[in-house]
Subunit: 152 residues, 2 copies
């Protein structure tokens, strides 16, 4: 088990954002390009408001309605993943690959979020679902904890 490092996608070039949009049948527009770029270059999990602030610094004409609409669109196209860390707002992160199903360890003292991946956990969840009579389509796991203090 290792802390998960988010795969960095090359946003330009032949496998860049425009190509991704085309592949998913999405119309290429300036707002969508910019919103995707800002989110893909973020290393964290911004909510709609935070994403909107970051985007607005580059193009102040973009509205928050477009951010929400674009997130919903990207989610349906499997370009972004919506997360819920229990604070009443949806947060977003790039979806870098279909098998890249990581989870989150949240420090309840600092709010810090670590991403991790654990194959045994993936296998176990699939097995549990199967035992219950289900094919697993999606799953959410968040761990909340406090850092173990090093002994002096």
């Amino acid at each position: 088990m290792a802390v998960h490092e988010r795969e960095q996608i090359n946003l330009d070039g032949p496998n860049g954002i425009d190509a991704l949009f085309s592949k998913r049948g999405l119309r290429i527009t300036a707002p969508r390009r910019l919103i995707a770029r800002v989110l893909f270059e973020s290393g964290d999990h911004p909510d709609a408001e935070e994403l909107y602030e970051r985007v607005k610094e580059i193009d102040s004409s973009i509205s928050i309605a477009t951010v929400y609409r674009t997130m919903k669109l990207f989610e349906e196209a499997s370009i972004v993943v919506k997360r819920d860390f229990g604070d009443g707002r949806a947060r977003y992160e790039p979806q870098t690959g279909p098998q890249d199903h990581h989870h989150h360890m949240i420090d309840i003292e600092t709010g810090e979020v670590l991403e991790f991946y654990h194959q045994g956990l993936e296998d176990l969840k699939k097995q549990i679902a199967k035992d219950l009579g289900f094919d697993l389509v999606d799953h959410h796991l968040e761990l909340f904890g406090v850092r173990i203090k090093p002994k002096n």
Copy 2:
């Protein structure tokens, strides 16, 4: 691993709701008693609105603000647990015991929710948190899936 059966608490008598309130230092009021009773007798995961509707049928004078305030109070007193099934509303269920940490398998076609418990999963999550340098305080796991169709 087994489907989890929710422990049914005796709401009256010496270990009933009033005793629970006293034990947690909560003032005993008619609205709190009723809201607790209705939630503890529900076998599902009502959101605030649903809980309010059920309570209103018994005492129509109760307001939804009290339902929200009471849920927050009960949550802090570890009497109820707040759940998030990803539909933008908080849902509530009784907390029947400190070690009674079950999870949810959600049928994305029907909305049906199965509760389950799996000791191996509990152990694995604790171990993962420890490996990441954390003491696990809480965790949320929801599985989303579709029923495996029986072969004809």
